[in-house]
Amino acid sequence: MLILVLCMLAGLALVLALVAFSRSRNTSDCPAASQDKSTTRQLPRSSFANASAIQEAIFSREDWEFIKQEGCPALEELFLAERKAVACYWLTVTSSRISAIRHNHLQNSRLARNLSPGQELRLLGRFLYLSLVCRVGLLVIQLGGPLAPANLTAHIQRIADGLPVARENSFAPLREN
């Protein structure tokens, strides 16, 4: 019984820490904001120049308004079904991309000589937070429809775009010597 209570407390503490982390996050402590863009290296991402544009297109409320104007319930139903499929796919792809970045980071950090525990912990928190939010996004789509998590997915996109830069900053590889 005591173990169960302790596990629940630990879980609660983790969730609170993640919420606090997401709220305290601002542009000044985000490495992406302070990093010189010319020196950053991009990790694999969408072939689009602006990956957030595709996120905006998928969760576009403008499209829904247009379909509603047509005044055909069957069309509205089709739109919601189609967008739901695409939205779920976007979240799945994004989640896979985050996992791949995390995997790469773990592989590279094994060769690093000056790992910063603080930064590594922050990155781990960010990875866990993104994975959690992707799952929440899928749940929101199931409950509230494909357009419901528009703000949430924009938030995911912003943080995911910041991940590669955070990885670059996190350590210096051994091969530098």
């Binding site: 969408s46 072939s47 689009f48 544009a53 595709i54 297109a57 998928i58 576009s60 403008e62 499209d63 247009f66 379909i67 047509e70 055909c72 069957a74 069309l75 089709l78 739109f79 189609e82 967008r83 499929a85 695409v86 796919y89 976007w90 792809v93």
Partner: protein, 149 residues
């Protein structure tokens, strides 16, 4: 349209393609279908006999491929309303009747051949989904027109 091409010849071929050919085609969906038609079904390589006499085959291939990808991305990211307009324009320019064309496109989905190579599955998914919706919008409008006394 702006493009990032590696070779100077390809850049020239790209500009020529836009000025002499694509600018004269009405609508981005028409342009996309045209560019897809310059690609060999089996090899996936692009060919344009007229351009190849002035520029090298490689430069022309690069120019056609770039223009194709750019138009595909533009149409994928445009609003559904804009895509319906583009589709209506395509139907209008076609020699087929709207009923016939819509029926064929909804059944056979020939627009799938307009997808460039090496684009992300997510992009393809969104493009096909949007085109399917645009076809249904036009079909609904067409049905309404026919129901009118």
């Amino acid at each position: 349209m702006s493009s990032t091409l590696l070779h100077a010849d390809a850049r020239k071929a790209y500009d020529d393609l836009w000025q002499r050919t694509l600018a004269k085609i009405n609508g981005d969906l028409n342009r996309l279908i045209y560019l897809a038609s310059t690609r060999d079904y089996n090899s996936g390589r692009y060919h344009h006999a007229g351009l190849e006499t002035h520029f090298g085959a490689d430069a022309v291939r690069e120019a056609l491929e770039t223009a194709h990808r750019e138009l595909f991305e533009k149409l994928t990211l445009c609003s559904l309303e804009e895509l319906v307009i583009q589709l209506a324009l395509y139907v209008q320019c076609s020699r087929e009747t709207p009923e016939e064309l819509l029926r064929t496109w909804r059944t056979l989905q020939p627009y799938r051949v307009a997808i460039p190579l090496d684009v992300e599955p997510l992009t393809v998914h969104l493009f096909l989904s949007n085109l399917k919706l645009a076809l249904e919008v036009l079909q609904q409008r067409q049905s309404r027109l026919q129901d009118r006394p």
